[in-house]
């Protein structure tokens, strides 16, 4: 009696052995997917989002942190590379990554414990391949941000692992396993398939400069690849349909984090929570005015009036006109020079339709124009006409059903172009780039002026919203330019096609261009806004962010030594 009196089982939770069934393992696998959005795991979702607007775009000079100086000021350290190891956003990103890894390891561990005959071989294989895909993704995220990271897998018992061993081979191995073992078709759209693994494997090769391997696998993805529901990979006809929830899980979506609104939680933790700060301020979106595109980015969308090709160098000369220091009620005519039509699906700028919300009003929607510049982001916004379906207003900032695309097919083509160029096939590289440009040139995918400017919900006219000019590279251009300039053109195309999608900083580092590009940017942009006046990128240091100090402190082993070693330049 006495013994039973003190027996108190855990309430409201499950034990490992209860989960050692097919359904249990599948639940754990869904939990491993559930960590993809970095949300609701104890840290600021805007830091942990796989969309990486902070570590990819703010660090990569495509975007200002935005808002006002003191709001989320720890991001300033990313914007101007003054970050120190005690900055909490580092620990957030680090821990969120390992939370994802832990969940994938739990899938693999419990899968081993499922009794013989309780799960069929094909299912077990699929589950382990999905888990290893996700694990490799989480490691990829950490690898590109922190550089030197410890490897923990389902066999690891000592959690204090050193961070000086190469993890690329292990990431590669996981993606290779996933590619070899995943089905090509999945019954559920959100599951990764064989081709997503192939594309990510190619990306992994590219990050290691293994161009031949990358080329080979991208070839396969481009020719054979298809989505989980069997749509052959391809570019969506209209550029803007790539981004918004209305059209998501399209043929271009290779690996996307699924987002859901109004899902019964009365919260936006599954609704693109990581972008919650990134809406215009003083606006119907309420909050919070972060993630403002830079003038430098906007200028890169200028095109040649006749060829419709970008200015690869000196694009900051004769900049795109902006409305800095022009009062909301003072007249303003937007820039009339030739522009790549993708600009106005990437950047919200004054006088141009902001989806169906009306013309962007300039300073009236900005929290501090002098600080963060005159622009707002656009790819992450929802449409007014469909907000009931695709937006969620149950939190202090909006949520959306826009997926976060980790890899989309345009990205695959541009990565393949890089691999081809590096491997010497400039013609093929150019053809990939031209596929991208041809899609952008489709006029039905351009932004058009409103049919009635007073009633933006009435739809659009047939008049393009600005002076759009875009053309393909004429045959033989890349070959004529040679490898170096061809690569520059591919890189430039990558910037404007994938702008504000969280890639830029990692690309710059990968290309070895970060120091030059970013310090040029600081020199140019700091004359326009006040936020990055003390920005400076230091090579051989700022390519990677510091290992969180708190993690170094917690990695001290029995002999009193830290098993984690700080990245160069941060000690």
């Amino acid at each position: 009696c006495k013994e039973a009196f003190l027996e108190q089982p855990a309430v409201g939770s499950l034990s490992e052995d209860v989960l050692a069934t097919e359904a249990g393992v599948n639940g754990l696998l869904l939990g491993a997917y559930g960590a993809l959005d970095g949300s609701a795991i104890g840290f600021d979702p805007w830091v942990t989002t796989p969309m990486n607007w902070i570590f990819g775009d703010v660090a990569g000079a495509d975007a200002h942190k935005g808002a006002v100086g003191g709001d989320q000021s720890s991001i300033n350290g990313v914007a101007n590379f003054s970050i120190d190891a005690s900055n909490g956003i580092l620990n957030a990103k680090w821990t969120a990554g390992y939370e994802g890894i832990t969940r994938t390891n739990d899938v693999l561990k419990v899968l081993e414990q499922v009794p013989e005959g309780q799960i069929d071989g094909a299912t077990a294989q699929r589950v382990s391949a999905e888990a290893r895909f996700l694990r490799a993704h989480y490691y990829f995220e950490l690898r590109k941000i922190f550089g030197n990271i410890p490897w923990i897998d389902e066999q690891t018992t000592e959690l204090r692992q050193p961070n000086q061993e190469a993890v690329w081979p292990k990431i590669e191995e996981d993606f290779r396993y996933a590619f070899d073992n995943l089905p090509a078709l999945q019954t559920q759209l959100g599951r990764v398939n064989k081709w997503a693994a192939a594309a990510y494997l190619g990306k992994t090769y590219l990050y290691q400069s293994k161009y031949l391997e990358a080329k080979a696998i991208f070839d396969q993805v481009i020719t054979e690849g298809h989505t989980a529901d069997g749509q052959p990979y391809g570019l969506v006809d209209e550029f803007y349909k790539v981004f918004y929830a209305e059209w998501k899980n399209h043929r271009e979506s290779v690996f996307a984090v699924q987002m859901a609104v109004n899902d019964g939680t009365n919260d936006i933790t599954n609704a693109n929570n990581g972008n919650m700060l990134n809406f215009p301020f003083y606006s119907p979106f309420r909050c919070c005015g972060f993630y403002q595109p830079t003038q430098d980015l906007v200028n890169s969308f200028k095109t040649d009036a006749t060829t419709g090709l970008p200015e690869l160098t000196n694009y900051n000369q004769n900049p795109v006109k902006n409305d800095m220091r022009i009062a909301a009620d003072a007249p303003f005519t937007p820039y009339t020079g030739p522009l790549d039509p993708r600009l106005d699906w990437t950047v919200g700028r004054r006088g141009v339709p902001y989806l169906d919300w009306g013309h962007h009003p300039g300073v009236a929607w900005l929290r501090d124009q002098a600080y963060g510049g005159p622009y707002n982001s656009k790819k992450n916004i929802y449409w007014q006409a469909t907000q009931e379906q695709y937006a969620d207003q149950s939190s202090w900032a909006p949520g959306t059903a826009n997926n976060v695309m980790i890899i989309r097919f345009a990205d695959v083509l541009l990565m393949a172009a890089e691999a081809e160029a590096e491997a010497g096939s400039l013609e093929k590289a150019q053809s990939y780039v031209n596929l991208i440009r041809a899609r952008a040139a489709n006029p039905s995918g351009w932004l058009h002026a409103y049919a009635d400017a007073k009633n933006p919900l009435d739809g659009f006219s047939n008049t393009p919203a600005a002076n759009y000019r875009i053309g393909e590279y004429p045959a033989g251009t890349f070959a004529g330019w040679g490898k170096a300039r061809a690569k520059a053109a591919i890189h430039f195309e990558r910037r404007i096609e994938l702008a504000m999608e969280g890639h830029r900083f990692f690309d710059l580092v990968r290309w070895g261009d970060a120091e030059q590009t970013l310090n040029d940017f600081f020199a140019y942009e700091s004359a326009i806004t006040t936020d990055i006046s003390d920005g400076h990128f230091q090579s051989n240091k700022n390519e990677y962010f510091p290992i969180p100090q708190i993690q170094i402190d917690r990695s001290i082993d029995a002999s009193g030594n830290a098993t984690l070693i700080q990245n160069p330049g941060y000690n």
């Binding site: 989960l19 639940g27 100086g69 859901a260 609104v261 003083y282 501090d368």
Partner: protein, 1039 residues
């Protein structure tokens, strides 16, 4: 056997007045009686040679042999020394002179002069070794700590009310309390074993006497908030000047202040920056009760600038009444006593819509059944309505810009909507929108007991008691429209309910004997079981057609319905014993032992908690002849106390959970539905066991000058080993809750001192003084095998922490960069960089920004140069109660102070740096900040960017000395002379006026230096609810 009846009268030896309620017992038995209103008693004795003991609180015990006297005349001597005062200790009582452990006996009557909703509020400064920190928030339970820290988790003491252990006594009616003792050391508290480590506070409620008595206690008062610019904020004109100074780029085109060399205050802030005549009032369109979030887009707000400036503090704080009525009826006879009381307490907070209202009903009664059996019960029911909250409103009041008025031109709320007005919310709106919210609690607290005398020296007692409680709350979330960032645009409603109970069943057998007149032996042995269970249930929905509180239920919304529940349960099973031996009233030794089993542990469920104590009353020795020191006792104890409170009930288990927010996923790509997924919730530790708090205490009790002065002093040391702590696992473990393991260590030492004096001055003046003095020194000896610290409280530093609990330091210390002045010249910066490896001395350097100290002299400033910046624990705290009686008048004053503690003033972050959100700024920012011509400044340069070298990381700028001395209470009373009373037919009547928090002497710049906080992170001020000045009028009478 022949029964004889002895009668008699008991009187006061000085006045000759009859004494009522004196306990009369036959020595060596439990046979007893009590005196009636005329001081008369009658007792049946079974032997003619019996000896009778007469005892009454405040009087020395008297022994009378019965002999042949038929009518005993007994006079009791007033016990100036209080040595024979009966003190309730664990599972029994003792006389004060027999105490060996450290027990603080609280002067309940003096304590009750403090008007408060609970006795824990009144306890501040009244008992040496007890630290109480509260705030002005009505109904908020203050933090009570006995002798510093014992654990990283909950440090709250165990309360034992009429023998029933409880975690909180918030619902107890302060007027019902008869006595209160604080058991501080192992010698006194160890008998409570596993729950003793944080100290034990024993409360006994009143019971009836022999005569019928009706008494009333009541007061009415008013709390008066501070007035004026309490946060030292800038006026609208000065705000504009600051903007022009910090952000010259605004001078060319500012949305509010125009353009030009000097800013111009607008007449309207919405539409931004307009002057009179430029606004078309007919465009105004705001529907404050909109139900479609999309209609927000069509609103046209017109808000006039408050050019004189809104004082947001004065807008949300206003004078507030406090009322208490207490009626009690008591009485009894030979065989039974009863007490019945009713209390109505109503305190409005000075912050709008904060209050606590409580009704308490109590019935205590005791019966004798035959000569050997006694039964009794104590029962109290309380019903409370409480709205505490308001922290957000206070924070918004110090953030909201003064140019914003409370309301717009049509009387709807005004806010930060407009341009460049920051993103704070309207604090008046926040509080007014809570007016239909309710938070109710009902609690039944009580126990029943039966006591039986077995044989001649044994008493068996069984007691069953506990509490049964239920809580209910509901809130409505109004849509906002007035802010720059409206956080709620969808109206919502939520309800929560909880219910729970806990019970304790205690069975003890007590033995008492006096052998050969010089050996006194008492022993108690018992078993106790405890069970605690409860549940929470909550739900919410959105989209109400009407906001009428009569309409809103969980069923009448139109949005998604959510529900949630949780439950908890735990149990303890214990056996315990105590033996005390007293030789010749001089040499005392005692021992206790307890074995506790807890459901929170799996592999090591049981723990043993022994303690021993001894005392030597040197003054009883024949050689003692110090006339001015009539009593002197040395005491010492050593023992082990336990703790298990901070371990989650499921700590032993590794668990997985499904969580809609964190582990569910839209695997179908539907865009609006999520599928169940699991994540690891907790890493289990089946090997967790009891924390052991090894406690040594040495002290003395001394009485001087025939009772005019007495001193109790104790020195203690506590070594907490096997301290349960959940070390932060490396990030590679993910985010599952890490288990508590017995890994940390901590020590505490300190001195408690209590001095009482009672001095007649002449014939008519009586002076009473009580001083309590408390110190504690805490040191963390070990955190875990690898971690040297754990951090807490990031506030607005985005993951860089203010508080570090580190090995070798005291709990809760502030941590960060030490400021070493400003960068005054470019040359200083260049020189510092030149000497720095890598070429950068410090991130974000710039003229007028902080220069941080390079603590490790490696030529640059980085994370390893952070240091401890301050300690929120005081060097000492003290309470001083002074009371004077002159004829019918009495005056008392209670002072309380702490000294040597630091406060982290987080308001400075909001006020003294221009870029920390566009909210209200301080006069320091404008008038005392660094400029190229003002190097002798307090704040750094005002500029647009927040940097590592200014407001982005915790540094020494925020640390202030938090010492203060406060007049907690002063009271002037008048008691009606006896003759007047008898003419009115009453026994006693007293009228008084009182003031609380009359003055505070402090160097701290915030609104109140008394700042509550958590267990391992406290003393951080980010807009506390200040304790305000209060005036009261009170009346007490007995019939």
């Amino acid at each position: 056997q022949e029964q004889i009846t002895v009668r008699g009268t008991v009187t006061d030896s000085l006045s000759g007045e009859p004494l009522t309620g004196v306990s009369v017992t036959q020595k060596g038995t439990n046979n007893g009686a009590a005196t009636d209103a005329q001081g008369k008693f009658a007792i049946q004795l079974d032997r003619p040679d019996a000896v009778l003991l007469f005892s009454s609180i405040g009087y020395k015990v008297a022994e009378y042999p019965v002999g042949s006297t038929a009518e005993l005349q007994v006079s009791l001597e007033f016990d100036a020394l209080g040595l024979e005062q009966v003190v309730v200790v664990g599972y029994g009582t003792k006389q004060k002179k027999d105490l060996m452990g450290s027990v603080a006996v609280v002067d309940v009557a003096a304590m009750q002069k403090q008007p408060a909703s609970s006795i824990t509020n009144q306890l501040q400064g009244r008992a040496a070794g007890v630290t109480v920190i509260g705030s002005g928030r009505p109904g908020e339970e203050p933090q009570v700590r006995i002798r510093g820290f014992n654990t990283f988790g909950n440090n709250a003491p165990l309360y034992v009310v009429d023998g029933v252990p409880l975690q909180s006594i918030a619902s107890l009616n302060p007027n019902d309390v008869a006595s209160m003792q604080v058991l501080k050391d192992a010698g006194a508290a160890s008998i409570y074993g596993s729950r003793a480590a944080n100290g034990v506070i024993i409360v006994t409620t009143k019971s009836g006497g022999s005569r019928i008595s009706v008494s009333y206690d009541g007061y009415y008062g008013s709390e008066r908030p501070k007035k004026g610019n309490v946060w030292d904020l800038l006026s609208p004109t000065e705000m504009a000047e600051l903007k022009w100074m910090a952000d010259p780029s605004k001078r060319s085109a500012d949305p509010q202040y125009g353009n030009g060399a000097t800013p111009r205050l607008p007449d309207y802030i919405s539409p931004a920056g307009r002057m009179e005549g430029e606004v078309d009032h007919s465009l105004y369109n705001v529907d404050p009760r909109y139900t479609d979030p999309e209609s927000l887009n069509g609103f046209y707000r017109i808000v006039k600038a408050n050019q004189a400036g809104t004082n947001w503090y004065e807008e949300i704080f206003r004078p507030a009444p406090i009322t208490s009525h207490n009626v009690s009826v008591s009485g009894g006879g030979d065989r039974s006593t009863f007490l019945f009381s009713l209390n109505h307490f109503d305190q409005q907070g000075t912050l709008i819509n904060t209050y606590v209202k409580r009704q308490t009903l109590r019935a205590n009664s005791q019966f004798k059944i035959g000569d050997r059996v006694r039964v009794g019960e104590n029962m109290a029911v309380s019903i409370s309505n409480q709205m505490g909250g308001g922290g957000n409103a206070i924070m918004m009041a110090f953030r909201q810009q003064p140019i914003i008025p409370v309301r717009d031109i049509m009387g709807n709320y005004a806010g930060s909507f407009g341009s460049d007005l920051g993103n704070a919310l309207n604090p008046v709106a926040i509080q007014e929108r809570t007016k239909n919210n309710r938070n109710k609690g009902n609690r039944l607290l009580g126990s029943m007991h039966l006591e039986a005398d077995i044989l001649s020296n044994f008493t068996f007692r069984t007691q069953f008691g506990g509490e049964l409680y239920a809580g209910y709350s509901h809130q409505f979330g109004y849509p906002e429209y007035e802010n720059s960032a409206n956080e709620n645009t969808v109206n919502s409603y939520s309800e929560q309910s909880s219910y729970g109970y806990n019970w304790t069943w205690t069975n003890t057998l007590r033995y008492e004997a006096t052998i050969a007149d010089i050996h006194q032996l008492t022993a108690v042995a018992g078993v106790e079981s405890y069970k605690n269970e409860g549940r929470n249930l909550s739900g919410s929905t959105q989209g109400y057609f009407s906001f009428d509180p009569d309409f809103t239920t969980l069923s009448t919304g139109s949005g998604t319905q959510t529900n949630a529940s949780s439950r908890w349960a735990d149990a303890l099973f214990s056996t315990f014993a105590r033996v005390d031996y007293n030789l010749m009233q001089r040499y005392l030794v005692g021992a206790t032992i307890r074995r506790d089993g807890s459901s929170r542990f799996l592999n090591y469920q049981y723990g043993w908690f022994p303690a021993a104590s001894a005392a030597w009353r040197i003054s009883e020795e024949p050689f003692w002849d110090i006339a001015w020191m009539s009593d002197f006792k040395l005491r010492g104890s050593y023992g082990v106390m336990g703790n298990q409170m901070n371990v989650a009930p499921d700590n032993a288990f590794t668990t997985f959970t499904g969580n809609r927010y964190a582990s569910f996923y839209d695997i179908n790509g539907s865009g609006n539905g999520i599928e169940m997924g699991f994540q690891r919730g907790r890493v289990g530790n089946p090997d967790a066991k009891w924390e052991r708090n090894i406690n040594a205490n040495i002290g003395f009790d001394a009485v001087f000058f025939g009772g005019k002065l007495d001193v109790t002093a104790d020195y203690y040391r506590k070594d907490v080993v096997d301290l349960l702590y959940n070390p932060q696992l490396p990030g590679t473990a993910g985010t599952a809750t890490s288990p508590f393991v017995n890994i940390a260590q901590m020590t505490n030492q300190g001195i408690d001192l209590a001095v009482n004096t009672s001095l007649p001055i002449g014939d008519q003046v009586k002076f009473n003084g009580q001083l309590t003095f408390t110190t504690y020194r805490n040191e963390i000896v070990k955190v875990s095998d690898d971690a040297q610290y754990f951090e807490q409280d990031s506030r607005r530093f985005s993951g860089a922490y203010i508080v570090r609990n580190g090995v070798g330091t005291s709990i809760g210390q502030f941590y960060g960069y030490q400021i070493d002045g400003f960068w005054n010249t470019q040359e200083e910066i260049t020189a510092a960089n030149a000497g720095a490896p890598g070429g950068t001395y410090q991130a974000g350097m710039g003229l007028g920004r902080f220069r941080y100290a390079d603590r490790n002299n490696d030529g640059l400033v980085n994370a390893s140069d952070r240091t401890f910046l301050g300690n929120p624990s005081p060097d000492f705290s003290y309470g001083l109660n002074l009371a004077v009686e002159y004829r019918q008048f009495d005056f008392s004053m209670f002072l309380f102070g702490v000294s040597g503690n630091d406060v982290w003033n987080q308001l400075k972050w909001w006020h003294d740096f221009y870029p920390t959100f566009g909210g209200a700024k301080s006069r320091t920012a404008l008038h005392d900040s660094w400029t190229p011509t003002r190097h002798q400044a307090t704040a750094p340069i005002q500029e647009v960017n927040a940097t590592f070298s200014t407001s982005q990381v915790p540094n020494s700028y925020y640390v202030e000395n938090g010492s203060y001395l406060r007049a907690k209470n002063a009271q002037l009373g008048y008691t009606l002379p006896d003759r007047a009373c008898s003419r009115l037919g009453i026994r006693n009547l007293r009228l008084y006026v009182a003031g609380t928090n009359l003055f505070t002497i402090t160097g701290y710049s915030g609104t109140d230096p008394e700042i509550p906080g958590g267990n391992t992170s406290f003393g951080i001020d980010e807009g506390i609810y200040p304790a305000q000045r209060q005036y009261l009028l009170g009346l007490t009478f007995t019939y």
